[in-house]
């Protein structure tokens, strides 16, 4: 049988050196200080403000999505009974996109069934003549209480109630059926709905919701002043210390490093988040940083025991910790990366490793020698 790349280079559970942000969420390569800073900030936030509220920035390919999934993995391991982590991509935004777009994503990602189950549970605990009062006391407005009741009760009311909660406009008849006075239009009203759901999750499941919002640089497309103001108002409310049940991590691309989308960098939001919670994922600036990243990656993807056996059996001039590179070819590869510092990003480094591996494999070679790294320069 033909030997494939996985066997040739002793790869664990994969055919190549690529990383899947979701499947490989448990792995993290290099950047140990950043990883530990992130974990500290997240841990501290549960004591200080109840939930993490973090902005991540970094250039294209710096590993923001992988970092978000790593956070999800970390929280899933550390606090499985305390948090419900929801990842989503903010999607394309336009000049006039209102905060209601993000509100809809927040709710849709939880799902109607999930929110309905939460209300059902609340209702079952308060069933009886006091139910109406319990609903009214629990939710901040009569309209939200009525919509939640509609979501839980009657089959015909459930869908329009959900539509109202996500911010869709209902007809006068539907308003009458659900006993609602108006549509939700203001960001403050939408935030009240989201925070009500956060409160339900807290009371019913003793959990908190943490949203991981990717591609937040899309916020820079929101240029209409009213639309931008709706985001600012809503995010300011979510960033407030008294918002203790809904956490978030927004990840946004920042080409030069460090800059946030204009909406997220408004003082009213930044000052609430705090400087420590704005975390930059920069280039792997130093040659040793690049090497550390590659060595970590190889340690996770390559089966060292198999590599050791192979090196011994075939008398290969390699060491298990660098396999399938040799130490010299690894140094040469890292220098190739740093010759143009823009390449010093996880995505470009992983591309480069795969390119070396595929060309060595196709040439029938057992290791990646220095000529492979040199061939990248041509």
């Amino acid at each position: 049988m033909m030997e494939d790349m996985r066997e040739r280079f002793c790869l664990r559970e994969r055919e190549h050196f690529y990383i899947d942000p979701e499947q490989d969420a448990g792995l993290y390569f290099g950047r140990h200080e950043l990883q530990s800073q992130l974990k500290d900030q997240i841990e501290n936030s549960f004591y200080k403000v109840g939930v993490p509220k973090i902005f991540l920035t970094g250039p294209w390919g710096s590993g923001k999505t992988h970092t978000l999934f790593h956070i999800k993995h970390f929280l899933g391991q550390q606090k499985p009974d305390v948090v419900d982590v929801v990842y989503f991509d903010i999607g394309p935004l336009k000049a006039k996109t209102h905060y209601s777009h993000l509100h809809r994503s927040f709710l849709d990602r939880l799902s109607r069934d999930r929110v309905k189950a939460l209300v059902d549970s609340f209702v079952s605990k308060n069933v009886g003549p006091g139910l109406e009062a319990a609903l009214r006391n629990f939710f901040p407005t009569a309209d939200i209480a009525n919509a939640m009741r509609g979501l839980s009760f009657g089959s015909t009311q459930s869908l329009p109630a959900w539509k109202w909660l996500v911010g869709e406009k209902l007809s006068d008849d539907q308003h009458q059926m659900l006993n609602l006075t108006k549509n939700l239009t203001e960001p403050g009203e939408l935030i009240e709905v989201l925070q009500s759901i956060g409160k339900l999750v807290k009371v019913v499941e003793s959990k908190k919701i943490i949203y991981l919002v990717d591609e937040a640089e899309e916020l820079d497309h929101v240029t209409n002043p009213d639309a931008a103001a709706s985001f600012e108002w809503a995010l300011r409310r979510l960033a407030d210390n008294d918002s203790k049940n809904i956490g978030f991590v927004f990840a946004a691309r920042a080409p030069g490093g460090g800059e946030l989308p204009q909406i997220l960098s408004m003082e009213s939001i930044k000052s609430r988040i705090g400087e420590n919670n704005i975390i930059d994922i920069p280039h792997l600036g130093g040659l040793e940083d690049v090497k550390g990243f590659v060595v970590d990656l190889l340690a996770s993807l390559v089966d060292r025991e198999k590599a050791r056996e192979r090196i011994g059996k075939d008398g290969l001039p390699a060491q298990p910790q660098f396999f399938p590179f040799t130490e010299a070819s690894l140094d040469s590869f890292c220098e190739y990366i740093r010759e143009n510092p823009e390449r010093a990003l996880p995505r470009a480094i992983i591309e480069g490793i795969n390119e070396c591996a595929v060309s060595a494999f196709r040439a029938g070679e057992a290791i990646i020698d220095e000529s492979r790294a040199d061939s990248l320069r041509k």
């Binding site: 250039p59 490093g257 600036g285 130093g286 040659l287 140094d331 010759e339 040199d374 320069r377």
Partner: protein, 177 residues
């Protein structure tokens, strides 16, 4: 209570022959050099000085050191000579930025790097005039400062739209020590 760990910063104030402090350390040093960063609006060959630019170029060539230079586009003969001298090395990347005013020099090396943040250019008047610089050791609390200066050049100054790359690193193989 949050514990705050203060790390010692090793730094030295330099007031005489400021840029020479950096040159001397690189030219005479025997560390494993990873990269050099030279950010100076003006550079001259330092012809009559003890540590000349040519000696630095020899070191760069001998050790195959990746070197990133940002300077202004030369108008004077001496500046052009210095730029040409540096561009002779395969491992030098040369960038021009007409708005450049910052002066700093970084050496990324093992066991640890260092950086000189200075008021002076890498020129003879910069050596002889009254200038001041701060030489920071890239260990302890100085490490993030040195790394930040390195990244400021590599990922900020080099990325400015006013920065024009006139020579890239072109190197096939070759080992570095």
């Amino acid at each position: 209570m949050t514990a705050i760990l203060y790390r010692e910063i090793l730094a030295q104030l330099v007031t005489q022959r400021v840029p020479e402090k950096f040159l001397r350390r690189v030219i005479d040093g025997d560390d494993t050099y990873r990269s050099l960063i030279l950010v100076s609006p003006w550079i001259d060959p330092l012809y009559d000085q003890e540590y000349r630019l040519e000696a630095l170029v020899k070191k760069i060539e001998k050790r195959n050191i990746l070197t990133y230079v940002i300077t202004r586009e030369p108008e004077e003969r001496w500046h052009k000579e210095a730029v040409d001298l540096l561009c002779r090395c395969a491992t030098v990347e040369m960038n021009f930025n007409h708005l450049l005013h910052a002066k700093f020099f970084v050496c990324e090396s093992i066991p640890h790097g260092f950086a000189l943040l200075a008021t002076s250019n890498l020129t003879t008047p910069g050596l002889l005039g009254y200038e001041v610089g701060l030489l920071v050791e890239g260990r302890g609390g100085g490490e993030p400062i040195v790394n930040k200066l390195r990244d400021l050049c590599l990922f900020t100054l080099r990325a400015f739209k006013e920065t024009r790359r006139v020579k890239e690193i072109r190197r096939i193989g070759g080992s570095r020590s």
